[in-house]
């Protein structure tokens, strides 16, 4: 009998396969492996989509009836899904297959953490009254699209930094030479960050509208809120830094790494280290 947890377990392992294919393709500079990575990525993405939809239906069968976006487990699954969605669209539009390693790896890690960590409960749970809101669904979806774009941009930044700061002549030979040029990487990075900034802005706004409809304050400096603002400020700084002469390239890539560190802290650090309104998310 097929159920959501079987589909999501398959997803976890085949994202690993996808990562390995992309990685091997880059290391051996062999394009068919990259194509294999894309194929596995697309199929896994579809399986995962089915898994998420099935979980949604199952929650109705249990009498709780809510979108599968309500606890840490479900949000990790959704994070993996968003990363792959954005990456695959990006790959399709730019026809760049060599950048798939990091997105696939992040998707695998998110799924693996969700499935294997003992601290994470994967059961479908009922929804607390404060969480019953369409704004919440919009909030979670948009935030995660933003986080996913930032994760991909983090991967591109790492490649950019490796390539730019690698001694020797990376343009002609070796693994790094197989990647797009640093100028192209910089351009992709910027596009991805602007895209992430767009969704993070929408995410913060929908969250704030939700808070206002639930308890009458659109901004209360709750730690999670504050950290998403910090993240937003770092990426805003990055977008403006590019307009100052001489700030392209390395510094932008480092800022993107710093921004992603803020994303991770907003997502995990706040739950585990600080307390606040969003503490439900740790369960």
């Amino acid at each position: 009998m097929i159920n959501s947890s079987i589909l999501l377990s398959i997803t976890t392992f085949s994202y690993l396969l996808c990562t390995i294919l992309y990685m091997a393709g880059v290391i051996f500079r062999y394009r068919p492996l990259l194509t294999g990575g894309t194929l596995v990525g697309v199929v896994t993405f579809l399986v995962q989509t089915a898994g998420i939809l099935l979980r949604w239906i199952e929650s109705y069968d249990l009498g709780y009836g809510h979108a599968p976006l309500s606890n840490l487990y479900e949000s990790l699954v959704f994070a993996a899904w968003s990363i792959m969605l954005i990456y695959l669209v990006f790959e399709f539009r730019t026809r760049q297959r060599t950048l798939g390693v990091f997105p696939a790896l992040f998707a695998f890690l998110a799924m693996a953490y969700a499935s294997f960590s003992t601290g994470i409960d994967s059961r479908i749970q009922p929804l607390l009254p404060a969480l019953k809101s369409n704004w919440l669904i919009a909030h979670v979806i948009t935030c995660f699209l933003g986080y996913a774009a930032f994760a991909i941009s983090f991967g591109i930044s790492i490649l950019y930094l490796l390539k730019r700061n690698h001694p020797g002549n990376p343009s002609s030979s070796g693994v790094l030479g197989f990647l797009p040029s640093s100028k192209q990487l910089d351009g992709f990075n910027y596009q991805m960050i602007l895209f992430g900034f767009l969704w993070l802005s929408v995410g913060i706004i929908t969250g704030s509208v939700w808070a206002n409809s639930a308890w009458g304050t659109y901004w209360s400096w709750d730690p999670k809120e504050t950290w998403s603002l910090i993240t937003w400020l770092v990426y805003a700084a990055l977008l403006h830094a590019r307009s100052i002469q001489g700030w392209r390239g390395n510094r932008v890539a480092w800022l993107s790494v710093a921004g992603f560190a803020c994303v991770l802290f907003t997502y995990f650090g706040v739950n585990f280290l600080l307390s606040g309104l969003h503490s439900y998310a740790t369960r």
């Binding site: 749970q125 308890w215 659109y218 603002l229 307009s243």
Partner: protein, 474 residues
């Protein structure tokens, strides 16, 4: 990719004197970056240090010297500290100065129409393409128009002495979008300011079946009196079978000048608004309604049993004393429920004591000359409502909407421009050289594809059709 023409204009301004340099500094992107990082850093500190500590807690938590620093810098109420708000004001000033400095220049760029360029200049662009067509210039011209008008945007001809040249562009207006984003930031901050100046936020508890118009304000523990009453007819909690709460609901009635004007059930996420004031379901609990209490006069031995509604005075028969329950504790110092009972007697100051309800033999269960025994307690559920009025919220929401629209357009739209020149290879010959160039301020890779596709179409059009002769002139 296009480098920012605005930035280049800025570099041309030098030697401006002190007021001028101050203005430049206020309008500069370096200040913007500084403010972004300063705000991010300060917010970070605010999430690490506990916020909203009372002075005593402050002393208990930190050593005296650190406590005085924390106090001076307002670190335990950081987001309301003057220096933090000054950073926000400075961001607004930066934004306004920047707009005043740049908007006129952007508008100038938008109005500017090029009227002279040639194929040599076009070949210096990053993105260019040239080919030879077996057509003379006059024949090439309508075909070029045809293709570019259809595939890209209308062409504007700027003819040169020995070449036909034209420009075509799309998305000029998209350069204005960042001003939209920036305006939205200002609107949100202004809306928040309006809310903090002219709005209020507070809390009220209404026992089931009663009404109230008193709101305890969060800001300074004062009471605000609403111009109408709110009655709670019923409060209800339902649970899932796991025991987790499923829903909180209060049935409220607004009573304005004695009239029941509005009846509504509120839930979490589903508030009620009346005359600009909004009520949110935020907590619940139970409180004392009344208690049955026995008073035994230890001198005369007389016993009286009274039913005392919470916080209302009653006379004790055969005496000049009145009595009131002023406090109720569900678990007083781990001794179970207790009532604070106060006896008022003429020429005496009021005297009271906490009476333990479950321990009638406790020696402290007395007030003045009465031995007090609690016979029964009746509680009522109450609903806890968050109450707020925020006249600025619409400005904030308008800012939100503008921000989303403007950022979406900033992401998707770009200012793309295509130049084309057709010149004769040899004077009087039947072949001409066509040169194209393109430039965008964003999304370079997609534009490059579009550009290449357009060049291909044009090349096809100008080379294939020649075999079949002239197309209809239009």
């Amino acid at each position: 990719m296009d480098h920012h023409p605005i930035e280049r204009l800025e570099n041309m301004q030098k030697n401006r004197g002190l007021p001028g340099s101050l203005y430049d500094a206020l309008a500069s992107l370096k200040l913007t970056l500084f403010l972004f990082f300063a705000l991010a850093g300060a917010s970070l500190v605010g999430t690490l240090l506990p916020q909203g500590l009372a002075p005593e807690e402050l002393k208990a938590r930190y050593s005296p010297s650190i406590a005085s620093w924390v106090d001076t810098l307002g670190l335990s109420d950081l987001y309301r500290a003057h220096w933090f708000q000054a950073l926000l004001v400075l961001l607004c000033v930066n934004l306004i100065a920047c707009t005043i400095q740049r908007l006129p220049k952007t508008l100038k760029i938008l109005k500017q129409r090029e009227d002279s360029f040639d194929s040599h200049k076009l070949l210096k662009f990053n993105l260019n393409h040239s080919f030879t067509a077996q057509l003379d210039r006059d024949d090439a011209r309508p075909r070029i128009s045809n293709v570019i008008n259809k595939e890209f945007a209308p062409l504007r001809w700027v003819d040169q002495p020995n070449a036909f040249c034209a420009v075509s562009e799309k998305g000029r207006w998209s350069r204005l979008m960042v001003y939209g984003v920036h305006l939205s930031v200002l609107m949100i901050l202004v809306g928040a300011l309006i809310g903090s100046l002219y709005g209020f936020k507070g809390f009220m508890t209404i026992p089931e079946g009663t009404s109230s118009n008193e709101v305890t304000l969060f800001s300074d523990d004062r009471m605000a009196i609403l111009p109408f009453e709110v009655r709670c007819d019923k409060f209800d909690v339902t649970f899932y079978d796991t025991g987790a709460p499923r829903e909180f609901r209060s049935d409220l009635v607004i009573v304005d000048q004695g009239q029941e004007v509005l009846k509504s059930s509120i839930r979490v996420n589903d508030p009620l608004t009346y005359r600009g004031i909004t009520f949110y379901q935020s907590s619940y609990g139970s409180m004392l309604r009344e208690a049955e209490v026995e008073f035994k006069d230890r001198e005369s031995g007389k016993v009286h049993t009274l039913v005392l509604p919470f916080r209302q005075t009653r006379d004790i028969p055969d005496s000049r004393d009145t009595v009131q329950i002023t406090q109720f504790s569900k678990n007083f110092h781990q001794f179970g429920p207790a009532l604070g009972i106060v006896v008022f007697r003429e020429d005496h100051s009021p005297t009271g004591s906490m009476i333990l309800a479950d321990k009638p033999e406790f020696h402290g269960n007395k007030v003045m000359n009465y031995q007090v025994k609690v016979l029964g307690i009746k509680q009522v559920p109450y609903t806890g409502l968050q109450v707020k009025q925020d006249p600025g919220v619409w400005v904030v929401y308008l800012g939100f909407t503008l921000m989303i629209l403007a950022v979406v357009v900033t992401f998707y739209a770009s200012h793309r421009k295509i130049w084309v020149c057709a010149e004769e290879q040899r004077a009087g010959g039947v072949s001409s050289r066509i040169v194209l160039a393109g430039r965008t301020n964003k999304n370079a890779s997609t534009f490059e594809e579009d550009f290449n596709r357009l060049c291909e179409r044009l090349e096809n059009e100008l080379t294939i059709h020649t075999a079949r002769g002239k197309p209809d002139d239009q």
